[in-house]
């Protein structure tokens, strides 16, 4: 199994967080289920392995198209993979996909939409070469070229929405959005509508998603062995334990104790 992230070129860093490649040379002996909390990022995925299924709050079982885009996830989702894994993707900064492609992101929240339905002919130069590419680096280079062409064509400006959304990511969702709007001298209504258009959810909701996504990443980095929950909850910007449990359960669908237990069991299973 091979999973690797690649950084974008400097021109694309305002809009793109990273590229990723996930491949397995061998066919998995049994199906693999990967559960993921909402990350706060949108992405485009090009699958050159076997098709796989997604489960989320909207879809019990959705077979993903060969090329798709996905907007903000507002709840945890699961990938059910079997056979040969092979995919390459672009992870966009929260407003990046909209800035580069001019898409209304509220249409794609919790969705996996076929890229050909959205971008049409502009993809014809990408899909074939990705399938034929000999190695992960070549595939990432093809994605980079695709985005650089789009950058030249669209010439997007890095606006207040991009700035604010990236700031919310940087601060791990621990921000007071009303104060942020005051600091930026923006009209609340206009700002919220632009944010919904470019990110897919409201700024306050996005900050909550980002906060829980960061907390789950912290749990994973500590392999779900938490010594001081109070410190972690405080650092992640929750007022108290009940606020944390309510938010966590809403976004992941599980109480924190069950979430940790399930992941500890998965870790033990994978380690054996």
């Amino acid at each position: 199994m091979f999973y690797r992230k690649f950084n974008p070129s400097a021109h694309l860093t305002p809009f793109v967080a990273c590229y990723f490649v996930w491949e397995s040379q061998d066919i998995a002996p049994k199906p693999l289920r990967i559960e993921s909390p909402p990350s706060g990022y949108a992405s485009m995925v090009f699958n050159f392995g076997d098709a796989y299924q997604v489960e989320n709050s909207k879809h019990e079982s959705l077979m993903t198209p060969a090329m798709f885009l996905t907007g903000q996830a507002t709840q945890s989702y699961s990938l059910n993979l079997s056979g040969r894994i092979g995919m390459v993707g672009i992870v966009f900064k929260p407003a990046g996909m909209s800035s580069l492609f001019g898409l209304p992101m509220y249409e794609f929240t919790d969705e996996r939409v076929d890229l050909t339905d959205v971008l049409g002919k502009s993809l014809t130069n990408v899909q074939g070469p990705i399938l034929e590419a000999g190695n992960p680096v070549e595939r990432v280079q093809l994605l980079e070229q695709f985005l650089l062409r789009q950058l030249a064509k669209k010439n997007p400006s890095f606006d207040r929405t991009d700035y604010t959304a990236n700031l919310i990511v940087e601060r791990k969702g621990v921000v007071n959005v009303s104060e942020l709007m005051d600091d930026l001298y923006v009209c609340r209504r206009q700002f919220e509508r632009q944010f919904l258009q470019k990110v897919g959810i409201s700024p306050k909701y996005y900050a909550r998603v980002r906060r829980v996504g960061h907390l789950c990443a912290q749990l994973a980095s500590q392999r779900w062995q938490i010594n001081d929950w109070h410190e972690l909850i405080y650092q992640c910007g929750y007022y108290d334990q009940s606020h944390f449990i309510r938010e966590f359960t809403q976004f992941t669908g599980k109480r924190p104790s069950l979430y940790v237990k399930d992941n500890q069991e998965l870790t033990r299973f994978l380690d054996t």
Binding site: S57, K58, Q72, Y106, E107, D110, R188, S202, K204, Y205
Partner: protein, 146 residues
């Protein structure tokens, strides 16, 4: 495959109609709000029980006009929109400051800020056919000081 494409295009139109509804609400323009619904559309303000059911164009407009009259700075923020077939669910935060009595709640000049769930059902012509609105009414009343 073709069916999937047609459905997704239809979804796009309907989310746009929901956003137009909330933009009109933010503009305090109830005529534009009801203009997005079919003439025989219905609305149900769930916490009000059977008293909260009625025709979208008449009863719905009357309730929204009353809300705007009692909370002149009423505003909304759409947190997210999700589709499921012909239904679009909008999670919306609504806030406003009370200046007049509202449905038996005397004005104490308090401000409310409350999560609402709007469930829009659309017809084949992409018009709103039915709307259900839910919120924590006890919390709403408490915020108004009653």
């Amino acid at each position: 495959m073709q069916t999937t494409t047609q459905e997704s295009v239809s979804d796009l139109t309907r989310k746009g109609a929901c956003l137009a509804f909330f933009t009109a609400y933010d503009d305090l323009d109830t005529a534009r709000m009801i203009g997005l619904a079919a003439p025989d559309a219905t609305v149900h303000f769930l916490p009000l029980g059977d008293d909260g059911k009625g025709a979208f164009w008449e009863f719905g407009k009357a309730v929204w006009d009353l809300l705007i009259d009692c909370f002149p700075d009423i505003s909304n923020s759409v947190d997210k929109l999700t589709t499921d077939g012909s239904t679009v669910t909008a999670n919306v935060t609504i806030g406003g400051t009370q200046v007049r009595e509202f449905m038996g709640i005397a004005s104490k000049g308090c401000r409310f800020n409350s999560d609402h769930v709007f469930v829009f059902q659309f017809n084949e012509a992409d018009q709103i056919q039915h709307l259900t609105i839910n919120w924590n009414h006890a919390g709403f009343v408490k915020q108004l000081g009653s």
